[in-house]
Subunit: 153 residues, 2 copies
């Protein structure tokens, strides 16, 4: 689940560069909020990010977490994913990937697949408009929720 140190360093570098280039400020709060996402492959929601960051930076507020996440998303540093009936999930993995979503607890897991990356969008879809990206969402029940002591959300 943990991101390799080298990749984390790379992500933090991209973050600092991007913000500097746009004239935005890489404040302590923003740094810690981004680090929280960049250091793990989980897809926490805003409240979870807040709970974790507030331990290290007690002065941070929920609003700042929301605003920072929106700002990071605008800069393309993180992605937001909607999950049915739950809060939005955030994700610092900007490489092309797909999602497994647990319909019980709402957890999201990334997976990679070259085969799926190349999937061909039917011609008919082009008639709908300009196509941006395509990704696969697999729904199912994660092992934690199936397991002997399931703790569904």
């Amino acid at each position: 689940m943990a991101v390799p140190k080298s990749e984390l360093q790379r992500r933090l570098g991209v973050f600092a560069d991007t913000f500097r280039r746009k004239g935005l400020r890489a404040t302590h709060q923003r740094m810690e909020i981004f680090r929280e996402l960049a250091a793990s492959d989980e897809h926490p929601d805003a409240e979870t990010v807040y709970q974790r960051v507030v331990k290290r930076v007690p002065a941070v507020s929920r609003d700042t977490v929301y605003r920072t996440l929106a700002s990071l998303e605008d800069q393309g540093l993180i992605r937001r994913t909607a999950v049915l009936g739950g809060p939005a999930r955030y994700d610092a993995n900007t490489k092309r990937h797909h999602h497994f979503v647990c319909t019980k607890c709402g957890s999201v897991k990334d997976f990679h697949s070259e085969a799926l990356d190349d999937l061909s969008i039917p011609r008919s879809v082009k008639a709908f408009g300009r196509i941006g990206s395509a990704h696969v969402q697999v729904r199912g029940v994660c092992s934690a929720c199936i397991g002997p002591r399931a703790r569904p959300r």
Copy 2:
């Protein structure tokens, strides 16, 4: 966009059967709410369903629309799809299909593709848990939002 009359009849039949079998009541309101979804290939949100149904059944309330949509979803008669930052969209097309989502106005359009239906989920995903369904979501900007007089939401 309109569903063929024969398909509409079929859907209404399934609705009546399913509710009867489960001991639920096929009230006037529920019938009209389901018909609104079953008669079209759009993916309206709850508010839109309410606005349309209330024209024909002025006595219906928003709460009943929400409750009925939840109930129809429980029975597997409709599907709910989350769209980033917007209200949930509902959909009476229970055949396997995929979605085009407009990132400007949030509209959702169905498309079918045998090639995509057969996409092979990588072995590694099975490790996450029990796999239910897989579907492709294409994001882009619909022609209405690109068009000469774009009216983004």
